[in-house]
Symmetry: D3
Subunit: 162 residues, 6 copies
C-alpha cells in the first residue's frame, strides 16, 4: 500500500486543489491532505475550518484523509509512512519554487519523492489568494470553489447572497 501527502495552506481549498486531489487519489492507495498549521501569514480561515471545508468538498472520495500538520513536512510525511509528496503545477514560477522545495525535501529525507501533476488548463490562473481578492472586490467567484467554500467565503467576508 502506498501513501502520498498533498500539503498546502488551503485557505480555502479551490476547484484547482480539488482537481489535483481527485487525480492524485487514483495514483495512490491512500492520500493524506495535510493542512499546514504553522503558516506565518494570517489566514482567513482557522486550521480547523480549512480542514472541514476540504472534507465537505470531497464528501464522496474514498481513500482520502484530511488532517493538519506542524513542523517539517518531510517529518510529517515520514511519520505517515508516505512514499511521495504530491504538488500541482500551474506555471513556470510555480515550477521553480516547487522544484526548490522538492530538492530540499529530498536532501532532508533521501527517500521522500515529490510527484508533480499538471493542473487543468482552466485552473491555470486559480489560487486561494486571487479568489479571495476577487471576492473582496465584489466579483463572482462561485465557479472557482466548491459550494461549501463559496458559502464560507461569503460569510467570512460579510458578503450578501448573490
Amino acid at each position: 500500500m502506498r501513501t502520498a501527502i498533498y500539503p498546502g495552506s488551503f485557505d480555502p481549498v479551490t476547484n484547482g486543489h480539488v482537481d489535483v486531489i481527485r487525480r492524485a487519489a487514483l495514483l495512490f492507495d491512500r492520500l493524506v491532505i495535510a493542512v499546514a498549521a504553522n503558516s506565518e501569514k494570517s489566514p482567513l480561515f482557522s486550521t480547523e475550518k480549512r480542514v472541514r471545508l476540504i472534507q465537505e468538498s470531497l464528501a464522496d472520495l474514498p481513500g482520502v484523509e484530511v488532517t493538519t500538520f506542524q513542523g517539517l513536512l518531510v517529518d510529517f510525511a515520514r511519520a505517515q509512512g508516505a512514499a511521495a509528496i504530491v504538488r500541482g503545477l500551474r506555471a513556470v514560477t510555480d515550477f521553480e519554487y516547487e522544484f526548490q522545495m522538492a530538492l530540499m525535501n529530498r536532501t532532508l529525507d533521501g527517500h521522500m519523492e515529490t510527484v508533480f501533476l499538471a493542473a487543468r488548463e482552466e485552473y491555470t490562473y486559480l489560487s486561494s489568494r486571487i479568489i479571495k481578492e476577487v471576492a473582496r472586490l465584489g466579483g463572482g467567484f462561485g465557479r472557482f470553489v466548491p459550494p461549501p467554500v463559496e458559502a464560507a467565503l461569503r460569510e467570512a467576508l460579510g458578503l450578501r447572497e448573490s
Copy 2:
C-alpha cells in the same frame, strides 16, 4: 469608437509607463488610465496625487483620460465601455503574473480582452518600486521619470535639489 483601459498603481508613474501610454494611445480611440485606489500596500503618493502626476506628465496627449477606480477591474472596464485592458510586459516574471490576471479577467468577463505591449528595451529594469529605492538611497533618478514626478519624489522623500 474603441476604448481601452490602462490600469495600475502608478506610485509614481515612470517613463516606462509613459512609453506604454503613448503607444497604446495610437491603437485606440480613447485610453483611460485607471489608478487603483484600493491597493493594500501603503503608497508613497495619495491616489489624487498619482492622478495629477500622470496628467502633468502627459500634458500634450489627446484621447487620454486619467481617473481612479475601486473594486474589480473588469467591472470598471465594462462601465467605461472598454474593449480591452492594456498591459506592458517587461520580462518573463511579468508575463506569468499578467497572463494569469488576463485569464482571470476573461473568465470574469468573456468580452474583455487583455492586450500586451512590449516595453522598450531601455525600460526593461524600470519599476516604481526600484525607482523609489534608488531615490531613497541617494541615486540619480531623473532619467527614469517625467519632470513633474522627479520634483514630487524629491519633496516626498525630503531630498535636496540635485
Copy 3:
C-alpha cells in the same frame, strides 16, 4: 480606421489561431491574416492551400482578409498601412521569442507596434506542428482544427475517415 496584421505559417490554421483571429478582429477595423510564403521549412500545405483553409474556416467573419507575404514582415505591414502586428501568446518560451521579434520589428520600423493576446487556456498546448504529429500517429485531431482543415489533413496524410 486601424489595420492590424496577424502573420504566421498557418500550416495549417488551428482552433488556437482562429480564437486569436476572432478576438483580434474585435479590436481593429481591418485585420489582415498574412501567410508567410518564404518559410524555409518544407510545409505540408502550399501557400495557396493555407490561405484557402483560413478563408474557409472564417467564412462568417467581417473585416478580415487573408493574403500571403514575402520579404520582411514590417515592410509588408507598412505597405498595408498597419498600426500593429498581432501575436498570440501561449507560454513563456513563446513569449521570449515573440518579444525578441517585437523588439527587432520596432527597431526596423519605430512606428510598428506588436500587440500580444493571451491564447485561451484550452489552446495552451496547441500548435500546427503538434497537431500534424498527432494526426500522423493516428490520434484524433478533429477538436483541434476547423472542419475544412480536418478534411484537408486527412487527405494530405492519407488517413481514412474516422
Copy 4:
C-alpha cells in the same frame, strides 16, 4: 496494481534516466520503459540496441520492463493498462514542453495522468544529446552513463579505450 509508462528516445540511456527510473519504480507496481521507435531524427543506436542498453543498465531492478512503441503514446499507455506517464524534469524549458505534452495527452485520453519527478541536481545538465557531443569531442563521459552504455558509445563513435 498500478502501471506507469516512462517513454523516451533513450539514445542512449543516461544516468539521469536511470535515476528517474529507480525512483519511479518505487512509486508504481509496474514500470514500462517505452523506447520510441518512430522518432524522426536519425538515432545513433537502433531501437533494439537502445532497449538492450537499458536492460543491461538496470539488471537488478524488479518490476521494470523495457519495450518499444510506435504510434501515439497515449494509445500505447492505454493498451498497457497504465494509470500514468512518468517524465523527469530538469529545468524550465523542459517544463514548458513537458507541460504541453501532458495537457495534450490528457486531452487525447482524459484518464491518462502525467507524473513529473524532479531530476537530481547533479543531472541538471545531462541529456543524451550533450553526452554524445562531449564524447565526439573527446571528453570523458564515463560518469554520465551506465557502464554498458559507455562501452557502446566508444564502439559506435570509434573511440579508443580511455
Copy 5:
C-alpha cells in the same frame, strides 16, 4: 589590480554563498564582501554579527575582505575602486531579478560591470530564508551552513544541540 564586490544580506551566510566567494576570489585580485546594512526586512542577525560569521567561515581565504555598506551599491562599489559586482545565479527567477539589477546598476554607473557565476548544482535550492525556515521547524541544517553559522543559528533560534 582588480577589485570585485560581492553584495548581499547574508542573514546568515550559507554554503552556497561560500562556494560563490571561493570561486570569485580566484577571478579577482581583491574581493570585498559587502553586507547590506540598510535592508528594510528585520534580519535575524545584526549587521556586525553577519560580518563576523562570514569572517569566521572564510578564515583561510586570502584576498577577501568583509565589510558593511549603506546607500547605493554602485556608489559603494565605485568608492572601493571595483571593476565588477559579483552575483551567484541559481535559477530562472533569480536570473530575472539579478538581470534587472545589473541593468539598473549599469545605467547608474556605466563603468560598473556585473559578473554572474553559476551556483553549484547542490546549492540550487539553498537560501538564507529557506535554511532559517528549516531550522525553525526542527530540521537538520548543518550541511547547509559553515560550522560557525550552525552554532549561531542554534543560539539565535533557541535550539538544543543536535
Copy 6:
C-alpha cells in the same frame, strides 16, 4: 595574469558580441576570442573569414586575441591557461542553455569557471541568425553589425549597396 576565453560561432560577429568583448576585456588581462571550427551547422562564413571579421571589428582593442578551436571547449581553455569562460546573457532561454553548458564544463574541469555578463538592453533581440534573416529579407542591418561585417554580409548574400 588572468586569461578568459570568449567562445562562439560568430557567423558573423554582431554589435552584441562586440559589446560583450569590450566589457570582458576590462575584467581580464588577456581575452581569447575562440571561433568554433567544429560546428555542425553549415556556416555562412568560413572559420578563417569569421576570425578576420572579428579582428577587423576590434582593431583598437588591446589584450584581445582571436583564434579558432576544435574539440572540447574546456580542453582548449585549459591549454590557453584560462581561468574563466565568458558568456553573454540576453534572456531566459539563453540562460538555461548557458547554465547547463557551464555546469557541464565545470564537471569536465572543476577549475574552469564560467562568467556571465548581461548583454546591453538594446542588444536583447540580436543574434547572428536573426541578422542574417533580416538581411536576406531585404531589411536594413547596418546598425546591428560592425562596418566590416556589413560589407561582408552584403557580398555573401549578393545584396546591392544600400
